[in-house]
Amino acid sequence: MIKIIDTPFNPVIELEAFTKANSDAGAITSFLGQVRGEAGSVHELYLEQYPGVTKAGIQDAVTKANARWTLTGVMVIHRTGAMGVGEPIVLVATAAIHRRDAFLSCDYLMDYLKTEAVFWKRQTGAHGNKWIEPRAEDYKDSDRWDTL
C-alpha cells in the first residue's frame, strides 16, 4: 500500500492497522522519518510531488523489493506540503515470515526514497529558503544495493 498525502498522519495508528493486516507475518520492520530541527535553525520543511510520476516510482521500488525478498506486505506513507519540526515525513513498514527479509527490504526502500524518489524538498529556517538535494552519503547508501 502506497499513500502520498498532504495532511498529517499518525504513525502509531497506521502501523497498528498494517500489523493487523499482516497477522501471519513473523516479522515487521518499520522506519519513521520526521522533520529535523537542526538545533533550532529549521522551522519548516516543504515537499512537493509530481502526481502520478512520484507514486509510479515508489511502486516500482516496491515491486523490486518484492522480487528480491519474500514479503507478505509493504506500506509506504509519504507526506507532501508544509511540515513543522518533529512531524512525520515518511513511514515505511515491511512484513515477512522472517526478520532478515523485513529488515533488508525496509532499509532498501528507504534508500530509494532518500535518493531517487520524485520529491522536491525546501527547507525554511533562520537562513531563509533552501532547496535540498540528496547528500553524498545518501547516494552511497543507495548504491550499496548493487553489490549486496
Binding site: G33, L47, E48, Y50, G52, V53, A56, H78, I89, V90, L113, K114, T115, E116, A117, V118, F119, W120, K121, R122, W131, I132, E133, P134, D138
Partner: protein
Amino acid sequence: MIKILYFGRLRESAGRRAETIALPEGVTTISALKHWLNTAHELDGALDDPSVKTMINQALVYADIPLSGDEEIGFLPPVGGG
C-alpha cells in the same frame, strides 16, 4: 493545448506551478518550446540546464522530439528525495 508543469525551484523561477497554452507559432519541438519558455518567463536558460529533466506525458525524454500540441510537459529539477 499543452499543459506545462514546473516543479521545485523551477516553479519559483517561473512564478507558476502550471500553465496551459497553445503551441506558440513556429514552435514544433520540445527544444524550441524550452527556448520559447526560457524567454517568455525570463528563466535565464534554466530549462536548458543539463540537470533539468523533461517529461512528456509523464515519460522522460532526452531527444528533441516533435510536439502535437496536446501534451502534458513536466520540467523537473534534481529531486531532493523524501
